[in-house]
């Protein structure tokens, strides 16, 4: 009770800070209603991606774990929202400290008001930018859950995503998008989060799969997806929400948002086809799971490139993404680690391909604020992209490994063997996904 009172007092102080900060000093830049409308809608679209991801993953696990899997994504909506408001946004986008991290000046969104903050977005309220970015911070840790599906302890998971958001996502977002971030200063291009969202979560997934270990019976007993219609619906919601993810990353409505929207769709469609065709050629069946996975791979790959490339480049990026991610996933089966829902293969590998492809296909004709890639006469961008990719790989892997090791020693990462056999739904949540 006492703790709650203290918490409420802290929140009270913080909200007072916001009230004070809202009084404008000089004449603020004008808010554009069209831009604001698009960013608010985009924020809602990106929000829907997290439940979409929950369905995408939920369909791929066995029926005894459907709720446990869905719940991991869904609770991220709750936890990261609070984390972002309290200090996450400030760490990621607050005033720079040493090009590494944002300061705590914007704790509790103090100073993040309804006037535009020109450094990030000159035409929309600062809070619109904040809520749009919040949705990215929510879905990123949720993406990792596919790597340790069907065996992770819920209590540990809650702490894990708070720590991961604080020590991996927030700094990386600052490096790439924050004012003064060192990767941003380097000139690396990441339009909508190839590095920040997909490489970070994809490589975290690799660390997680290695630390958490295989599911009981992995490789011996069949673990087929229990509901692929659910998975396809989830993939469709991801595709739909991704228009906000990439289109909204223009942080304005208009030509750049349109261009990003268009290439997002083209790449996704291409990758869904190419995965299906490659799998058909190698395995004899054009599978629904393959087409859905291909679509997501195409979305991932176009994410960093979406504001910098044209429609034909998008076809190439998408077609390649479907094939590359298909082979990455098959390679996993040979290596033998249990990244259960292929987060590494789709997000890690797809994000890496997308970030490098940005260095190949970026064109100033599409976005004058961007740069030219290798195929448009500027080989140096590819080097910068590769350096940024390598930094994100190393940072995410080392930090995730550290966080998980500490949690393993203190709380334990896995549910007991008995609970794993009975399923997460009953053992962690006391519910069943289906009762017929």
């Amino acid at each position: 009770m006492k703790r709650i009172t203290i918490l409420l007092m802290i929140l009270g102080f913080l909200s007072m800070g916001v009230a004070f900060a809202e009084t404008p000093a000089s004449s603020p830049p004008k808010v554009d209603t069209g831009d604001t409308a698009w960013i608010l809608i985009s924020s809602a679209l990106v929000m829907l991606m997290t439940p979409g991801l929950a369905l995408f993953y939920g369909g791929m696990v066995r029926s005894k774990n459907v709720l446990g899997t869905i719940m991991q994504s869904f609770t991220a909506l709750g936890i990261i929202t609070i984390q972002w408001v309290l200090y996450g946004y400030s760490l990621a986008f607050g005033p720079d400290i040493g090009h590494i991290i944002g300061s705590l000046k914007w704790v509790g969104l103090r100073g993040v008001g309804l006037d535009p903050f020109p450094e990030y977005s000159a035409t929309i309220p600062h809070q619109a930018f904040m809520i749009f970015q919040m949705m990215f911070a929510i879905i990123t840790p949720a993406l990792i859950t596919g790597a340790f599906a069907e065996r992770f302890k819920f209590k540990t998971y809650l702490l894990f995503i708070i720590l991961w958001a604080t020590f991996v996502y927030d700094p990386l977002a600052h490096w790439v998008w924050g004012m003064g971030g060192w990767i941003k200063n380097l000139g690396a291009l990441d339009f909508a989060g190839g590095l920040v969202v997909h490489i970070s979560s994809g490589i975290a997934a690799l660390a997680a799969a290695l630390v958490v270990g295989k599911r009981k019976g992995y490789g011996d007993e069949p673990m087929p997806p229990h509901n692929l219609t659910m998975t396809l619906l989830g993939a469709a919601l991801l595709w739909f929400g991704w228009f906000g993810f990439n289109g909204g990353s223009a942080v304005a409505s208009g030509s750049l948002a349109t261009s990003a929207f268009v290439v997002t769709h083209i790449s996704t469609a291409s990758a869904a086809l190419s995965w299906m065709i490659v799998e058909w050629a190698y395995r004899g069946n054009p599978t629904v799971l393959g087409a859905a996975s291909g679509a997501v791979a195409g979305l991932v790959a176009i994410t960093p490139a979406s504001g910098f490339v044209g429609p034909v480049s998008a076809i190439v990026i998408g077609l390649a993404a479907g094939g590359i991610c298909y082979f990455a996933i098959n390679f996993k089966n040979k290596l033998g680690y249990d990244d259960s829902l292929d987060v590494v293969g789709v997000h890690g590998v797809g994000g890496t391909w997308g970030a490098l492809a940005t260095g190949l296909f970026a064109s100033k004709a599409i976005n004058s604020a961007g740069n030219n890639g290798l195929f448009f006469g500027n080989p140096s961008l590819l080097g910068v992209q590769a350096l940024s990719v390598a930094s994100a790989w190393v940072y995410s892997f080392v930090m995730t490994l550290t966080i998980l090791k500490i949690l393993d020693w203190t709380m334990g990462l896995r549910v007991s063997e008995e609970n794993e056999i009975n399923g997460l739904d009953l053992s962690q949540h006391g519910e069943a996904g289906y009762s017929f």
């Binding site: 069949p222 087929p224 599978t287 996975s293 996933i329």
Partner: protein, 142 residues
Amino acid sequence: MARKWKFALLFLICSPNTELITPNCSGRNDMKKIEAVIKPFKLDEVKHALTKIGIQGMTVTEVKGFGRQRGHTEVYRGAEYKIDFLPKVKIEIITPDEMVPQVIENIERAAKTGKIGDGKIFLLPVEEVIRIRTGEHGKDAI
């Protein structure tokens, strides 16, 4: 578990109530149960063939199992799973002795594709049939 079963078997063999295991001794038993496990898509043809020869009722269950056909493999994102149990349909029919050859012949003909996995037919003795609504016994209750 295994010991329990052995015990039950022992009891049956030694039981003085031979009626339980050798129904023909009772002289009353003149009905049989026919169980057929068939390919699901053949169910309609079998049902048709049986209603044509005057069978008035049957019980159908969706079951899973394997025989010599074994299972098949499914591939999800490159991971191969061997699915041992295949879906089949089990039909149960109770019929007077004199109709047994006809019923079996019709099931055989309608369910046959000639390929592995067509299924099996089992013939079992039936002690008694009772129609719940009227309380009728024996053949009248079929």
